[in-house]
């Protein structure tokens, strides 16, 4: 692999219209230990059989409240955790693997194609290592390039993420930089190996508004120019609106709704999505939101019953929800999938009420 090739605008074409990632029935259950010599009988179903695709060059937003499994999903996709079930089919040009199954040196090879950006730019960097060390680390791990080549690549990346002049940053330490500059370094580190897929876990939620916008712009521009796909994990729907072409809404380990961003925001169909959207404050005092009331707080995902995960809080729950398993994702419009038995009834009920 040539490390300095940043002109990969043709990357999406390389996949012949095939998705970059096909996730099928992905599952991650954490055992809850009840004693040293007893086998665990209870499991946290953090990710409970989810399926979706990410196209080459696409950014998908994964939104939901804390504890819904969105970060676990992100970690599974870059192999920071072993899933307990399901498959992750990763296709990057000629390279094709089921990420859930690969082991050992194959994992290392896979990791040269994926990267992760973390939330906290103060915690995700080693304070004793220079910016050059930090950004070039993936190259060192993958044994790519000589030292001068790595330096050239790092300078190129620093310029790309807007840290100019790059020479001035090379041998500085993280504590000398502001939060926004650090997050730029994190972006540079994620892109240094020229990955085709990046998982970004709340990359802007620690930053101030004005700095947040510039990091968001940087990430979208680079995604477009370099043909990188993002899984953008966030609790902030307004940020997701600006970053993602599609949004998936998670609730207790399940994807309850997935579709094009503007469609989800303007025409949510799952009762949870409706409640979530109606709770987002609007930066305009002249707008009064219409509340969608749901009951209680988020439940725990420990050995959940087979019915719809949202049933306890759902104001629309009926017999059909109690007697059937968790509803599958069904097509309800242009690329818009919803996991709810009562989509049509709810639309009718709300239509009558309004």
């Amino acid at each position: 692999m040539t490390v300095t090739d940043t002109t990969v605008a043709s990357r999406p074409a390389r996949n012949d219209g095939q998705p970059l990632l096909e996730i099928r029935d992905l599952e991650m259950k954490f055992p809850i230990s009840r004693g040293m010599f007893r086998a665990a009988t209870e499991f946290v179903h953090a990710v409970d059989g989810i399926s979706f695709d990410i196209a080459a060059g696409e950014s998908l937003g994964l939104v939901g409240e804390s504890g819904c499994g969105k970060s676990t999903t992100g970690r599974l996709l870059v192999k920071l955790m072993e899933p307990t079930g399901g498959s992750i089919n990763f296709r990057d040009g000629d390279y094709q693997r089921d990420v859930a199954k690969i082991r050992g040196s194959e994992v290392k090879e896979f990791r040269s194609r994926v990267q992760m950006i973390f939330q906290d730019p103060y915690e995700s960097m080693n304070p004793r290592r220079t910016i050059f060390d930090t950004v070039s680390e993936p190259m060192a791990v993958q044994k790519v390039g000589s030292i001068p080549e790595r330096e050239k690549r790092v300078l190129e990346l620093l310029r790309l993420v807007g840290l100019t002049p790059p020479q001035n940053f090379l041998f500085r330490y993280p504590h000398e930089l502001s939060g926004g500059q650090r997050q730029r370094i994190a972006v540079a580190r994620a892109l240094v190996m020229n990955p085709s897929f990046v998982v970004a876990d709340e990359p802007t939620s620690m930053l101030d508004v004005s700095i947040r916008i510039s990091i968001m712009e940087l990430m979208t521009t680079l995604a477009r120019d370099l043909g990188v796909s993002y899984l953008y994990i966030t609790h902030d729907l307004a940020v997701a609106r600006y970053m993602c072409e599609r949004i998936a809404v998670m609730y207790l380990g399940k994807i309850v709704e997935i579709g094009p961003t503007e469609e989800i925001l303007s025409n949510p169909k799952h009762p949870y999505t409706k409640a979530l959207l109606s709770a987002v404050p609007v930066p305009d005092p002249s707008i009064r939101r219409t509340p969608v009331e749901i009951k209680g707080g988020i439940s725990k995902a420990i050995n959940p019953p087979p019915e719809c995960r949202f049933i306890e809080r759902c104001p629309f729950a009926a017999e059909v929800c109690r007697t059937n398993p968790h509803p599958p994702l069904e097509l309800e419009g242009d690329r818009h999938y919803v996991s709810c038995y009562r989509v049509d009834e709810i639309a009718r009920e709300l239509g009558q009420a309004g």
């Binding site: 916008i213 510039s214 709770a279 404050p281 609007v282 930066p283 005092p285 002249s286």
Partner: protein
């Protein structure tokens, strides 16, 4: 002293009367590298029953103001000048003893991060009881305290039985509700809420903000909301102050500041906030970084990042000028800001 549970119910509110007046407050932190000018000549008034918001980015001095009002600043902080008057009385001249009798009773605070506001080894009820012991010694007996606390918990939507639980048994949202209950314990006239919902999920945040708003109206309290989240502030406040680098750059009725922001910083801040409603408009990024307050810029502190800066902005500091209806702006070029709208339509 008569303290009755009826105190919880309501207080007569005269919205024209000032409750808290912050008058030309200047505050510095002494650190090894020099003096950090954290709050510079800030004045604003909170009326009875009013909800005031302070917004700004990290390090703009909003939390320093909150801590100043309670006189809870660290030992390296120094009040240089100015007054903080509560019902006409200057809090800065009170002895530490006198100040202690004001905290929780006249001014209470809901701190940032409910997680860290509780001592993990005491039951929540016992921690609230401590406040009641301090302020109502000999006025309430044990049973009355219990009754009072149960009432407080019901008013913030917590089951009274939770009083006997430890903080770790609470969820994040419940803990923040308990913090609010504690702030209400002595029915203060003013509550300072510093990022009260920042760590919470949107649905819980929405519930808690509604609760606070309802309680505020019912009890006739004033609230100062401090947040970096402009959308939250837009929804819960009557008046709004925008801070930048220790200075109040714009202040006025929330609706006026939102519909006609006149300071370039306030303007850019409001325009760079993404929203899920309305058209998906271009967000305006703010170039540059906030200034180093060890050596703040001369003149207007925003001039190095301001698209309107002229020679005058570098040399002279703009006063906070009233442009009508209590809307005050500290900018030499505030009449030109509407033109920014056109310039930003790229």
């Amino acid at each position: 002293m008569t303290i009755s549970l009826e105190n919880l119910e309501s207080r007569q509110v005269d919205p024209t009367k000032a409750l808290l007046e912050v008058d030309r407050l200047v505050m510095r932190y002494h650190i090894k590298a020099g003096d950090v000018s954290a709050v510079e000549d800030v004045s604003f008034t909170v009326h009875q029953g009013e909800a005031v918001g302070l917004v700004g980015e990290s390090g703009c001095g909003k939390t320093s103001i909150a801590l100043s009002l309670l006189r809870l600043l660290p030992s390296n902080a120094e009040y240089v000048s100015g007054e903080i008057r509560l019902n006409g009385e200057d809090l800065l001249w009170l002895s530490p003893e006198e100040m202690r009798t004001r905290r929780w009773k006249d001014i209470a605070m809901v701190f940032q991060g409910a997680m860290n506001s509780w001592n993990p080894v005491y039951r929540v009820g016992d921690q609230i009881r401590e406040t009641l012991d301090t302020h109502y010694r000999g006025v309430m007996n044990y049973a009355q305290q219990r009754e009072h606390m149960e009432k407080l918990f019901s008013s913030v939507g917590l089951p009274p039985a939770m009083l006997d639980r430890y903080p770790h048994e609470y969820s994040g949202g419940m803990r923040q509700r308990a913090v609010i209950a504690m702030a209400l314990a002595c029915s203060p006239q003013l509550i300072i809420a510093d990022e009260p919902t920042t760590a919470l999920d949107v649905i819980v945040q929405d519930q808690i903000l509604k609760e606070l708003k309802r309680i505020q109206a019912e009890m006739g309290m004033s609230i100062i909301y401090i947040s970096h989240d402009i959308a939250v502030i837009a929804e819960v406040t009557d008046s709004l102050g925008v801070m930048y680098a220790g200075k109040l750059v714009e202040y006025g009725p929330t609706s006026a500041v939102f519909s006609r922001p006149r300071h370039p910083y306030a303007y850019l801040l409001l325009r760079s906030t993404p929203s899920i409603t309305g058209p998906r408009r271009q967000l305006a990024p703010l170039e540059g970084e906030p200034p180093d307050l060890l050596d703040p810029p001369t003149g207007c502190r925003f001039h190095p990042r301001c698209p309107f800066a002229t020679e005058q902005c570098v040399t002279a500091e703009p006063p906070l000028e009233d442009i009508g209806g209590g809307h005050r702006v500290a900018c030499w070029h505030h009449t030109e800001v509407p033109e920014l709208e056109g310039a930003l339509q790229r």
